[in-house]
Symmetry: D2
Subunit: 94 residues, 4 copies
């Protein structure tokens, strides 16, 4: 089942600016090779459920190194029999 | 206090494809004149809290016309003394 | 249109423990007189859209006093012609 | 790393009432043996990241049987070196 996951991650209890932590997560997402879309409040990733969740686990592992508390949000759209939906969705609604 | 709100809205109990409803909400957002960023899982809107919430209320009013049940999600980043952050946030993390 | 809003609020750039900030928001919610349900990851509030959003604005105003950056999430279920749904929803799914 | 995940799941393109689908997911969560808290807008589950994600995957698999499109939301609080936090969090903020 192909999914698109909108994903945000940041530490609680660190600096007020969290962009350097977001950058590290986005580096992990880019390295995964999965299609992604960066927005101002989160990044969307498309793929099979297991592969997307593995990337998110790697993002968490990367930030856990120096962040004792992390907050993440996810919105997931799971749809049977379709892939390459991420670009189409943006075009359709525009 | 300037906010960036990532916003999604769709009906429950209608067709499996919800893009035509999303398009109507995005039309309302565009007409508001506020800066926005459309992503595959939601749209980010930047402005003062009251003006962004007014736009979201208008999106809800537009879809209420023919949708007896609506689901919305919001992620809000409120920060004092800064505006024009939406584009900067994407650049910074990339 | 009656809504149930699941709402979370906390500061970014403060201590790792955010419970004292959550307590202040919950005090505002309790004082509003609207029905609410406290969970480990957020509080659900039921009422008309405008009255729930006013309570959330008051929560934000309360924390803005000493928090230059706030993060909030909301999930909203809007349904025509029904009220008193909050308790029913929990019973139904159990 | 112990996590608390607030989780919602429902189909898009089915009936306006989604409680029977939520009930099936909650059955899966109960059967997992992990601590949980049912609220009007989602269920919180506590455990190690991998075990909580396995339960969520099982919920998705259960609903996929007859739902070609699913929507899920998650809010995740990851904190090192603490467990049994779910009940404490509610008590602290009250």
């Amino acid at each position: 089942m192909s999914v698109i996951v909108d994903f945000s991650i940041f530490p609680i209890g660190k600096e007020e600016s969290v962009s350097k932590y977001a950058s590290r997560a986005i580096r992990v997402i880019k390295d995964s090779g999965l299609p992604y879309h960066i927005g101002p409040m989160g990044t969307s990733i498309e793929g099979e459920w297991d592969e997307v969740m593995l990337v998110i686990t790697h993002c968490m592992d990367e930030l856990k190194k120096d962040c004792p508390r992390l907050y993440m949000t996810m919105k997931v759209d799971c749809r049977q029999g379709e892939s390459g939906r991420m670009g189409k969705k943006v075009k359709k609604v525009e």
